[in-house]
């Protein structure tokens, strides 16, 4: 979302043109990336609790990445039911996050005011605190697993309401190519209107870049990178095998037939990235119903004890999110977070590459805003055209 930059920091993007073409892109990231280091000295439980209260937009992903890092450090296996419950909550957060972008930000890209706030409010009522249906004590983020006592009727009612809201907002994209084309032509709702705009302007492929997708991450290699990152340069500007990478919905959905058909036609540009978010929203809601059948009662675990080093790796809404902890004498000695925005908004990453390679003659600022939104930073951003 484009807004004034505040204490949370943000992304400053400066696009320099010589009048005919873009000649330089500068991306300055002022997010306080050193924040997790201040968790040192807390107990693992307290550190994860602090993470959850600080990162309320992607609370589930952050809380679970922290919890999983602690579990790996202490050799704890939460078991299949806790894992299924966590996957369900994560998918709920991803669906809500994509829908929030589609309903709040995409209309602005179309030159309109967001008008479906009542639907988004209803969707938030269904998904924002979905853990209540699984963890009555609210301890879903507890390392080792909280007290899991699923209320299946309440859970299904929430999922029904979420699906209804997604339908009402016209965000339920058909998952086959022919139906999808008809859905776009009907142009009902911000998602179809956005795809229409891209088609009319010939912008479907804008923002495609040679930056490779980060579809898989080797946890052992990532742990090594983070362990050696004493100056926080890796968490600020991560690279994989010596190159910046793109993470997020497109990397996850690239093999879906509809997404791969759009990529084959237009490349990995705006249409593919926005479509991947729509497809993922629909798939998350379907997958949540399946996961609900894998969840059964599970008592909460005792407070974790011990020392060790662990990595928690989750697929958050915007891409890979990694937490790494070092625990000594029962307290956090070192805490690191590597977030997806740092991959995608790397100075030579997907945004920079897409802007340079796209190099529009007309509407450069609008296209830049479209591409930033397609890559979806989790903080405010500002674009300056020079």
């Amino acid at each position: 979302m484009s807004a004034g930059l505040t204490a949370e920091g943000g992304i400053d993007i400066t696009v320099t043109s010589d009048g005919n073409r873009i000649v330089d892109i500068a991306i300055a990231n002022s997010r306080p990336l050193g924040l997790p280091s201040r968790l040192a000295g807390l107990t693992p439980d307290a550190a994860v609790g602090r993470i959850v209260s600080l990162f309320s937009v992607c609370r589930i992903a952050q809380g679970l990445a922290g919890s999983m890092a602690v579990e790996q450090a202490l050799g704890i296996d939460p078991g299949p039911s806790q894992r299924a419950a966590r996957s369900l909550l994560l998918r709920g957060e991803i669906a809500l996050d994509h829908a929030t972008s589609a309903l709040l930000v995409w209309p602005v890209l179309l030159g309109k005011r967001p008008t479906a706030l009542h639907i988004l409010k209803s969707l938030r009522a269904s998904l924002a605190d979905l853990w209540i249906c699984l963890y009555p004590d609210g301890d879903w983020m507890r390392p080792g697993g909280g007290r899991l006592e699923p209320d299946n009727s309440a859970l299904m009612a929430r999922l029904d309401a979420a699906e209804a809201a997604i339908q009402e907002a016209h965000l339920a994209v058909p998952l086959d190519t022919a139906s999808w084309q008809n859905w776009v032509r009907a142009a009902t709702g911000p998602a179809a209107e956005l795809f229409n705009l891209l088609e009319q302007k010939g912008w479907e492929g804008y923002g495609a870049t040679d930056v490779k997708l980060l579809s898989a991450l080797d946890p052992t290699a990532l742990e090594r990178h983070l362990a050696a990152d004493t100056d926080a340069s890796f968490v600020a500007q991560p690279e994989w095998e010596g190159e910046p990478r793109e993470t997020g919905p497109l990397a996850r959905q690239i093999n879906h037939p509809l997404v791969s058909a759009v990529v084959a036609q237009h490349g990995r540009g705006l249409a593919a990235r926005f479509l991947a978010q729509c497809v993922e929203t629909t798939r998350c809601l379907v997958e949540m119903r399946g996961l609900a059948h894998e969840i059964y009662e599970d008592r909460n675990s005792p407070a974790p004890k011990g020392d060790g080093v662990g990595l928690g790796l989750v697929e958050a809404s915007r891409g890979w999110l990694a937490h790494r902890v070092e625990i000594a004498d029962g307290l956090i000695r070192r805490y690191q977070i590597l977030a997806p925005t740092e991959w995608n908004f790397h100075p030579s990453g997907a945004l920079a590459g897409g802007l340079i390679e796209g190099n529009p003659c007309q509407s450069p600022e609008r296209l830049a805003r479209l591409l930033v939104t397609a890559l979806d930073p989790c903080v405010p951003y500002r674009i300056e055209m020079r």
Partner: protein, 80 residues
């Protein structure tokens, strides 16, 4: 990192609230809030624009104390 800093409501007008955090004031929409907003409440604000939930005064105080120290620390440069 999708950090949200608890912001205190200092005035209300219709579906908007003026909130303050670390001396910075901004106007945010309260249309997504699931409960009534009152003066003095602490709110989580999404991407600087929309308030999404209330934060208890105790949690807000803890978070602000933690953040105040962190935000005063010089940040390593990460730009090009």
């Amino acid at each position: 990192m999708c950090m949200t800093i608890p912001s205190r409501v200092i005035s209300l007008e219709g579906d908007s609230a003026t909130v303050e955090c670390f001396g910075v004031q901004r106007t945010v929409s309260t249309l997504l809030m699931g409960e009534p907003v009152c003066l003095g409440d602490y709110l989580s604000v999404m991407a600087g624009t929309y308030a999404i939930e209330k934060v208890s005064p105790e949690v807000a105080a803890e978070s602000l104390a933690y953040l105040e120290g962190a935000l005063r620390e010089p940040q390593a440069p990460h730009s090009r």
